[in-house]
């Protein structure tokens, strides 16, 4: 068993490294193809050299933008191998370099062309903008600046998710605006060149992935399954289970605690999307999600009328048995974070004693679905612990004060912690405390699997 998880982990780690390597390789390919297709001495004069470096910056910058689109497209293969979290992390790390390269592209070409014409870069601005399609590309660049700036952590916080996402969609407009000047002025799409094959392929892969997995799939999937709200059940104060009816729901294909992005089509709720796990394995015609009144958007869901049309995107995430790397399984879930934990437990094939589950609630009302997890743990031979009460003021901060005072530690709950995969789900602040605790005990990052309630 242990060896099997070890092998699948190594395989995934290798695929993950290959994928990240491929990102950088694609930039290199763009550079190499420039040299194979560049005509007469691209570095012949000072002006030509500056221009050529400018063109290279533009090529690598565009390459990164397209790769970023692929990484954000939730391509199933990428999500399965490196996980959406990692894909988004790589996407984020490319954002600023791509923007800097494209800014350098504009500046260096102004300088390079300027040198060739005997003009300073500012004076070259006039003739440059008079060149058809350049002003379109400039608008694209300004849109891209907007997108990157609004994604800086400090700025992003000021926006709601929906507002930020709307601005982020401008990057497609930016890409579209950049294409005309690549056709009429750039050599990257010259007919009969290898460069053209590469760039057309990259465009098809990037825009195709986005169109397929972010736009077409949710629509087709929602139409196919025809999901509607059948019943809203109040589970505890502020917590509701939505019972859903639909067609062929098993084919939603959720593994373990993966989540879906749900949208409920009433006048007041349609604009808000909700990332939520199924709280039970679906049957052919029914499924269940359980949620807490978190934000203003989620609060309205407890009043959803029966028959509300539901659209669905997913499943996403790596909170699944497929992400296992070690012999033992440790699960800690807080509050409503129990839903993916419950699904993970339900779908895991376990030997008796392999899994230990710790459930955390701030009060009795918070102990949602505990009886169901208890039954599952019994059936699968897993050990179950529970902790109820507000967070302790002294270390370990993530557990209730009485438990912390009794000397309970992560190690005492999970004696085999270092040989375990630790699956965590709960509010982000709480989750970071547990993660820090686990890391202090020497737990490697790849054994920690977290599902956060934020974006």
């Amino acid at each position: 068993m242990a060896a099997r998880y070890e092998i699948t982990y190594r395989r995934r780690a290798l695929a993950s490294n290959l994928l990240v390597g491929l990102v950088w390789a694609s930039g290199l390919i763009a550079v190499i193809l420039f040299f194979t297709s560049a005509g007469t001495s691209p570095f012949g004069t000072i002006g030509a050299s500056v221009s050529s470096i400018g063109i290279l910056c533009g090529l690598v910058g565009s390459d990164f933008i397209l790769v970023m689109i692929v990484l954000a497209a939730r391509v199933p293969f990428i999500d399965r191998t490196i996980g959406h979290d990692r894909a988004v992390a790589v996407h984020r790390s490319l954002g600023k370099p791509a923007l800097y390269l494209l800014l350098a592209h504009a500046t260096l070409l102004l300088t390079g062309y300027g040198i060739e014409q005997g003009l300073n870069p500012i004076a070259e601005l006039g003739p440059m903008l008079a060149t058809p399609n350049v002003w379109l590309a400039l608008i694209g660049l300004l849109l891209l600046v907007t997108v990157v700036v609004t994604s800086l952590v400090a700025v992003k916080r000021r926006f709601s998710y929906e507002g930020w996402h709307l601005i982020h969609l401008l990057s497609y407009v930016a890409v579209a605006f950049a294409i005309p000047h690549q056709l009429t002025l750039g050599g990257m799409l010259a007919t009969g060149s290898l460069q053209r094959v590469y760039w057309i392929t990259l465009y098809v892969v990037a825009l195709g992935s986005i169109a397929t997995f972010r736009f077409i799939e949710p629509v087709v999937s929602s139409l196919r399954h025809g999901i509607r709200v059948r019943e809203v059940e109040s589970v505890a104060p502020g917590v509701v289970s939505l019972h859903l009816a639909g067609r062929d729901l098993r084919a939603l294909g959720s593994a373990g605690g993966q989540f879906f992005v749900w949208r409920f089509w009433t006048k007041s709720t349609w604009w808000h999307s909700h990332p939520l796990s199924l709280s039970a394995v679906p049957t052919d015609d029914s499924a269940r999600i359980t949620l807490r009144d978190l934000g203003a958007g989620t609060g309205r869901l407890s009043a959803l009328p029966t028959g509300t049309v539901v659209s669905v995107e997913g499943p996403y995430g790596l909170f699944t048995p497929a992400a296992r790397t070690s012999a033992k399984l440790a699960i800690i879930a807080a509050g409503i974070g129990i839903t993916p934990a419950r699904a993970l437990l339900e779908q895991s094939v376990l030997r008796p004693g392999e899994a230990t589950v710790l459930l955390r609630a701030s009060d009795a009302d918070d102990s949602v679905l505990w009886s169901e997890v208890d039954a599952l743990a019994n059936a699968k031979g897993a050990t179950l612990y529970t902790m109820t009460g507000p967070r302790s003021p002294s270390a370990p901060l993530w557990m209730p004060a009485p438990d912390a005072e009794r000397g309970v530690t992560l190690r005492s709950v999970f004696p085999d912690l270092l040989e375990s995969d630790l699956y965590l789900c709960g509010p982000a602040a709480w989750l970071e405390l547990v993660e820090a605790d686990a890391r202090d005990l020497g737990m490697p990052q790849h054994q920690i699997h977290s599902e956060r309630f934020d974006w």
């Binding site: 009429t184 750039g186 050599g187 009969g192 997995f213 799939e217 999937s221 294909g253």
Partner: protein, 141 residues
């Protein structure tokens, strides 16, 4: 038991086919372009041209003006020049000066007006081909 395929699997496979198809089609056209240029170096003009020097119309683009002149000798186009080739501003002039020799060599190789336009100089290429067509028409007359 009926097997229900995930929507994602079906769509993913379709995208895969589109990507592979695009790459294949691109590589195929790449092949054609390279073979056509290599085999057509000794090509004869598809129409009979009378010996002489013919000037095409002057074609205006937003980048500048282009006029092509061809020299026909022994029924073959032996030279092509651009008596008029202006750029409306510095950058266009540069582009035009880069594109003209490429278009000229394509013309001499293919001996026809069906030549590939130069990427990065699409407007100039189209103007070149238009002017060339006029020169051809005069050479046929």
């Amino acid at each position: 038991m009926t097997v229900s395929l995930k929507t994602r699997t079906i769509l993913g496979a379709s995208l895969g086919i589109v990507v592979v198809g695009t790459v294949g089609w691109q590589l195929a056209t790449l092949d054609q372009t390279s073979t056509s240029t290599s085999t057509s170096s000794g090509a004869r003009p598809t129409v009979t041209l009378t010996d002489g020097t013919y000037t095409g119309t002057s074609v205006q683009t937003q980048f500048g003006d282009v006029e092509v002149q061809i020299v026909v000798s022994g029924g073959r186009i032996t030279d092509a020049t651009t008596p008029v080739l202006t750029g409306n501003e510095g950058r266009s002039e540069q582009i035009n000066n880069q594109a003209a020799p490429i278009l000229r060599s394509e013309l001499l190789a293919s001996q026809s007006t069906s030549i590939q336009s130069v990427s990065g100089a699409t407007y100039t290429s189209n103007a070149y081909i238009t002017s060339l067509q006029a020169a051809f028409d005069r050479a046929k007359a």
